[in-house]
């Protein structure tokens, strides 16, 4: 079978845009979805994960546990459908919200449950003495978390956060299901229109790999910048995706 890479220079039928330009636009959508969802996932995940470790607030702990179990045990694709079809039906106020925003929330909350799990594990891996030291200094709970526990915990969990960030980027591909014009959507449509599936899939797969690698580099740059000399952090990822 012969290659035909020139397919990318063909017009995509929308008037003056080549498949290459379409693919670059799609890459932009993938990065936008992933970056926006990442912000939500980190903020909510840090909050929920911290809530799960609060010393004397059983109801907040329970609430946070429910959050994690809820968003972890439903497939992302189903969650995206829920946000897209069911939530606007129950809350008619949300009917005007663009699907991009809905997908960002779906992906962000889905990932927040995983981040929360990492944050909780990170906080609980700290020796109890850290918390007691904060109390002995006369810190409030908020101050203990702000100045003692969280700075340590976040450094510990940076390696798993790296792999969760890469997972988030890959999971953004599921947005194809509600017709977000991102890379997977482009791959499916361009494959159908041009019958040059292999060339198109190779290019799209390459862009995903480049993006995932970039995320990896950015995170390990952060890891190096915030490293405390003499304080070794053990990595380890295991399963997931």
């Amino acid at each position: 079978m012969a290659w035909d890479w020139q397919v990318f220079l063909n017009d995509d039928g929308s008037g003056g845009r080549t498949y290459l330009q379409w693919m670059m636009d799609a890459w932009g959508w993938t990065v936008s979805v992933a970056a926006s969802a990442w912000v939500i996932a980190m903020v909510v995940g840090a909050l929920v994960g911290t809530m799960r470790t609060l010393p004397d607030n059983p109801w907040l702990v329970r609430l946070a546990n429910v959050w994690v179990e809820l968003f972890r045990n439903i497939p992302l694709l189903v969650q995206i459908f829920l946000w897209y079809f069911v939530v606007p039906k129950i809350f008619p106020v949300m009917q005007g919200i663009p699907s991009f925003v809905l997908v960002v929330f779906a992906l962000g909350f889905f990932t927040s449950a995983r981040i929360a799990e990492q944050v909780r594990a990170g906080i609980q891996s700290l020796p109890k003495g850290q918390r007691y030291a904060g109390m002995a200094m006369g810190f409030t709970t908020l101050q203990t978390y702000r100045y003692v526990i969280l700075p340590m915990a976040f450094r510990i969990i940076l390696p798993p956060l790296t792999s969760e960030s890469m997972n988030l980027l890959k999971n953004s591909s599921v947005a194809f299901a509600v017709s977000i014009a991102e890379l997977t959507m482009f791959a499916m449509q361009a494959q159908e229109e041009t019958s040059r599936g292999i060339e198109i899939y190779i290019a799209v797969t390459g862009l995903y790999a480049i993006s995932a690698f970039a995320v990896n580099r950015i995170m390990s740059f952060i890891e190096k910048r915030v490293q405390i000399p003499g304080y070794v952090v053990a990595g380890g990822t295991g399963g997931g995706h």
């Binding site: 179990e69 809820l70 972890r72 045990n73 439903i74 497939p75 992302l76 694709l77 189903v78 969650q79 459908f81 829920l82 079809f85 069911v86 039906k89 129950i90 809350f91 008619p92 890469m166 890959k170 999971n171 953004s172 591909s173 599921v174 194809f176 299901a177 997977t184 791959a187 499916m188 494959q191 599936g197 292999i198 899939y201 799209v204 797969t205 995903y208 790999a209 995932a212 690698f213 380890g236 990822t237 295991g238 399963g239 997931g240 995706h241």
Partner: protein, 234 residues
């Protein structure tokens, strides 16, 4: 049963009407898809563990070419979204076999190949968690490499890894919903089809979410119990 629940609830739930789901619809549309999802999960788990173990052994074998092949395969699979892998196989398998294959068969092959990469990472961590002394003990007894692996290392590694393997299986079950991309008839598709035919798509998505949640939450509770049991033995 669902109708009774909905009536007992008494609320309107923002215009949602769950009463349309009854046993007839479940057995007609959902059950087949549910069985496919379960079968796909089981086959992909067993196949993934088998090929994953082989990949892990290749990576740890110390043989340069074997290590490189396995590493490239595992890292390659892990850096591509599962949806893209599903699309790739759907495109490539007919080209290789020379005739069209159904979405279901293509999905099965995809999941075995994809999960093998993830299971191999779990297996590798499990094998490496066995103290070196165990391997030396096997060697001291005059065992060959394969005897040592089969009789000493792998049985212990499997037991240490059991909770992680099962957690990965739950994730795998959730991921089977992604066969939506190639139109295979799974649990989600069953609900979507029923929702379309009866004009109740929102309720169908909601029911699908509930069912996935019940299965995954129940299984992860079981894994937690197993984990505490294993921890005591160790």
């Amino acid at each position: 049963m669902w109708s009774r629940v909905a009536q007992a609830g008494g609320t309107d739930m923002g215009g949602l009407d769950l009463t349309f789901v009854n046993w007839d619809i479940i057995s007609k549309f959902v059950l087949g898809g549910f069985m496919f999802s379960i079968n796909l999960t089981i086959i992909a788990t067993l196949g993934g563990i088998l090929f994953g173990t082989i990949l892990a052994l290749m990576r740890l074998s110390g043989n340069k070419p074997m290590t490189i092949i396995a590493t490239v395969y595992v890292n390659g699979m892990r850096s591509v979204p599962l949806v893209m892998v599903i699309l790739w196989f759907f495109l490539l398998v007919p080209l290789i076999t020379g005739r069209p294959v159904g979405a279901e068969l293509s999905a099965t092959i995809t999941f075995i190949a994809f999960e093998a990469a993830y299971f191999s990472e779990i297996m590798r961590a499990g094998i490496q968690s066995i103290p070196r002394g165990q391997v030396y003990a096997g060697q001291a007894l005059g065992m060959t490499y394969s005897q040592n692996m089969r009789l000493v290392v792998l049985p212990q590694a499997f037991r240490n890894m059991l909770p992680v393997l099962l957690t990965q299986t739950i994730i795998l079950f959730q991921d089977t919903s992604l066969v939506y991309a190639i139109g295979a008839y799974d649990l989600l598709k069953g609900f979507v089809t029923a929702g379309k035919i009866y004009g109740r798509p929102e309720e169908a998505y909601l029911m699908a979410a509930v069912l996935y949640f019940v299965v995954c939450f129940g299984l992860s509770a079981l894994v937690k119990r197993l984990q505490s049991k294993i921890a005591i033995i160790r």
